[in-house]
Amino acid sequence: MSVGVPPPVPSSPFSPAVQPPSSAAALSTETVTVTIDGRVHQVPKGMNLLEACNQAGCNVPYFCYHPGLTSPAVCRQCLVDVKGSPKPVPSCYTPVTDKMEVTTNSPKVLDVRRQMLEFTLLNHPIDCPICDKAGECTLQKLYFDWDAKLARNDGIKVRKDKVVDVGKNVVLDQERCILCTRCIRVCNEVARSPDLTFVNRGDHEILTTAPGRRLDNPYALNTVDVCPVGALTSKDFRFSMRVWELYTTPSVCTGCATGCNTEIHSSRGRVHRLVPRQNLDVNAFWMCDEGRFTYKELHQGRAVAPRAAGSPADWDSALDDAARRLRSALDAGPQRAGIALSAACTNEDLHAAACLAFDHLGIERVYLTGRPAGWHDDILVSADKNPNTAGARAIAGPKLKSAADLAADIKSGTLGALLAVGDVFDLPADVPLGRVDALVALASHMTAMAEAAHVLLPLSAWAEVDGTITNRQGRVQRLRPAIPPPGDSLPGWEILSHLARKFGAAMELDSARAVFAEAKAKHAFMKDADWGRAHLPVQLRFASSRG
């Protein structure tokens, strides 16, 4: 993934809570010697034995261990033989010590592992065909890899509640739960909201909400991600799509300035869900529920065709009209013309807009718009709901005015012409947009600005384009196209280069990558950024075995 960190880095906005318990930073630099399956390895002192084994390529399975959470050692899948220990030890709970001799594949270990799986499957319902997790289920994967024996027991399974409405976004099936406690730890350690607990004992033990609470914390859907089976499912995603049919594209959440790394899961031109992708420097393994739902905007209220003077137009005549209106306004008085840059646009779109407005048209009024600020916390969510404020500020330069200034200038009539690049959501409803003589809007959604514009040029959105955005840390992160853009919409840099041609200005922009290279050469904050590798969408069924 592309990463460029400009100096000076703002102080880290993250609490230690989202940092994994044994992340590299927490480990000592001292190393110890450990023998794993007959081969000698040097690992940091105090490292978790399970991580040491898997780092050595020995493939120790687990349900309850999670690299972002503490280890309770309840699932007993990661048992290994340690020389000198009378019985197998849970490797996720054992720190590596010097001269330790470990066997991960002795007959005893394999047998214990298989027996634990058989035990876990004893009361597991036969739900795969109707279970949302099927296809990315850890229980399926571990059974296939480590057990692969047919049932020896045909007794009656213990029945529990199958549809428990535990929270706004999550449904619980208590029968499927294998009691690994991952969800409880996510609530306690990541969301810092102890909403879930176990009650009862033995095969009557169930997961439930703690007394007087519901699973309504802003990070509740992370419990669905970490659930190794289909016990916790997302109300939004459940029964909408079989996971193995989905194609995955690495991307970045555009819901706020944090820029959590995500995977877009899409199929046949529709995004079905966003899930977090590991990046220890940004979001570790997590993302907020609000960010997951940002995909819905891709399929709602989109601007799909160019419009000029209130009626549909083809691209060429719409661009002609836009250029004519802006030109006559600029001729009347260049100081009355302005450009509004949305902080939701990519660095590439903003760079192209800045080139056109500043270098070719001589516009001096520049406003920063986007989405209005919102709630925040000290875990992941930022008050700035725009994904690329840092990039917009750096590209637009010091003269940047605010959305409030834009509203005031329109009201007072000082703004005669406006080129709005990207969606503008933060203007008050009472701003008289009709006072602007020439209003040209590049918009992906039908905002008030797009409705009022004399010329509307439809913009492709974040899941449909190649490009980069800059998060609040100053990291330049890459967006990749997962689905085709709707209607006739185009990426912003492409629209702007067509528009420039109508003004007789030559901006030689022929791909997002070329614009990126040009912007990188020009702007200091992008100097360490890297475009990254090409990525072909992979169907989840073939994206190695998930779960």
């Binding site: 059974y143 057990d147 047919l150 049932a151 069924r541 075995s545």
Partner: protein, 422 residues
């Protein structure tokens, strides 16, 4: 199977035997002046099995050059296979040599089993059944070739007799697999299900009736003057050429090259059966006819021995990672449900590596070269189709022959478009 002794004319090119009526015609026809003429035969031609195009240059009736162009039935078998799970490829293999689909099923399954390292663990009953269905397919393959070949030379009766007998076998396989032609009966690790209860008695009955049909056809064709005139000494291939061009199967054996994968590299349980490998001595069309006719007899011998020795036992491997568990288990236990789900949705996990596995197909050595990257689908699945060399050598065999000789020569090569073009 030497060509019968008769008068021979001194013509350039391959040895040509002229008998009776033909000889009289030759004597009557003076050498008329002729100039080279391009002649296009196919891709759609009544005497062509499948779609294939021959661009000929002829002088009068005599062929001077022949350019045989294949590929009209290309279906992207190999590319499609890269996007299907290991099990989903079986229906594609049915459509390779579509007159002997079971042989393709078996050949493909054995290649994947070799890569999985389970080729020695396939239950004995499954191996015997694979031999049974494979030899039935070989008989249907040869019957189609002989019947169609005779029909194209005007002998319609043997064609109807042979296809009648072929239909008995197709009906048997249909009862077994549910499909007359596209059986998809074999699975990695074994078979989809066991033989039907009356399979063995029905097959014995069919073999008895087939013997009569074969006697009839033998009488109608083997000493038929018209048939022999068109077959003897036409399209001769030397043993050296057969080796140089990679000819296998009945075409290769007609030249005297006694190569049969079942004998030379025994697989399944072929080493437990007593059977002969017939070879020709001249390498002409008649030898190819005679080799196939005899191979039907040998296949029937194998069938009878396999039915006698057919052991009881499981029909598929007992490993839920490879073979689907029984449906009763799948619907009633979570273990079998997961195994079923993983095999169907993700595919069998075949370890990374490459393998070449070959069996005796209807037309010769049917090879599968498979590369796995460790996922549920092949990274590459290449087929060595045995009839490609046989079609390739036509460009060498045809020049010097007459246009009318193309029909029996091409017919006896037994090009199957589905296999040749894939």
């Amino acid at each position: 199977m030497a060509a019968p002794s008769s008068t021979e004319t001194e013509t350039a090119g391959p040895r040509r035997v002229v008998l009776g009526v033909q000889e009289a015609l030759d004597l009557d026809a003076p050498d008329l002046p002729s100039e080279p003429m391009p002649l296009n035969m196919g891709p759609s031609h009544p005497a062509m099995h499948g779609t294939v195009r021959m661009v000929l240059e002829v002088e009068g009736e005599k062929i001077t050059t022949a350019d045989v162009q294949i590929g009209y039935l290309h279906r992207c078998f190999e590319k499609e296979s890269e996007h299907a799970t290991w099990t989903q490829i079986f229906p594609y293999t049915d459509r390779l040599n579509y007159v002997s689909p079971m042989l393709n099923n078996v050949g493909y399954a054995m290649a994947v089993e070799k890569l999985l390292g389970i080729d020695r663990r396939i239950p004995e009953r499954a191996q015997f059944i694979r031999v049974l269905i494979g030899e039935i397919s070989r008989i249907t393959d040869h019957m189609t070739c002989l019947g169609a070949g005779a029909m194209e030379l005007g002998a319609f009766t043997p064609f109807l007799y042979l296809l009648k007998a072929r239909e008995w076998l197709y009906e048997l396989l249909e009862e077994l697999s549910g499909a007359r032609l596209t059986h998809s009966y074999v699975r990695i690790g074994g078979l989809t299900h066991d033989l039907t209860d009356d399979f063995v008695p029905r097959l014995r009955d069919i073999i008895n009736r087939m013997r009569g049909v074969l006697v009839d056809c033998d009488k109608l064709l083997t000493r038929n003057r018209i048939f022999r005139d068109r077959m003897d000494g036409i399209g001769i291939i030397s043993k050296e050429d057969a080796m140089a061009w990679g000819l296998t199967g009945p075409v290769g054996r007609s030249t005297g090259l006694a190569y049969d994968v079942r004998k030379d590299h025994p697989y399944l349980v072929y080493d437990r059966f007593d059977f002969d490998v017939p070879v020709g001595s001249v390498g002409d069309n008649f030898d190819r006819y005679a080799v196939r006719l005899e191979e039907i007899q040998q296949s029937m011998r194998i069938l009878e021995q396999a039915m006698d020795k057919l052991p009881a036992g499981p029909f598929t491997l007992d490993d839920p990672r490879i073979a689907l568990p029984p449906k009763s288990e799948t619907y009633n236990s979570i273990e079998a449900m997961i195994a079923h789900f993983k095999i169907i949705m993700d595919g069998i996990h075949v370890p990374a590596g490459e393998v070449y596995s070959f069996t005796e197909g209807g037309n010769g050595e049917l090879g599968f070269y498979i590369v796995s990257d460790g996922t549920g689908r092949p990274w590459k699945c290449r087929v060595r189709p045995p009839c490609v060399p046989a079609v390739a050598i036509l460009g060498k065999v045809l020049p010097g022959l007459f246009i009318a000789d193309i029909v029996p020569t091409f017919g006896m090569m037994n090009m199957i478009g589905g296999e040749c073009d894939r």
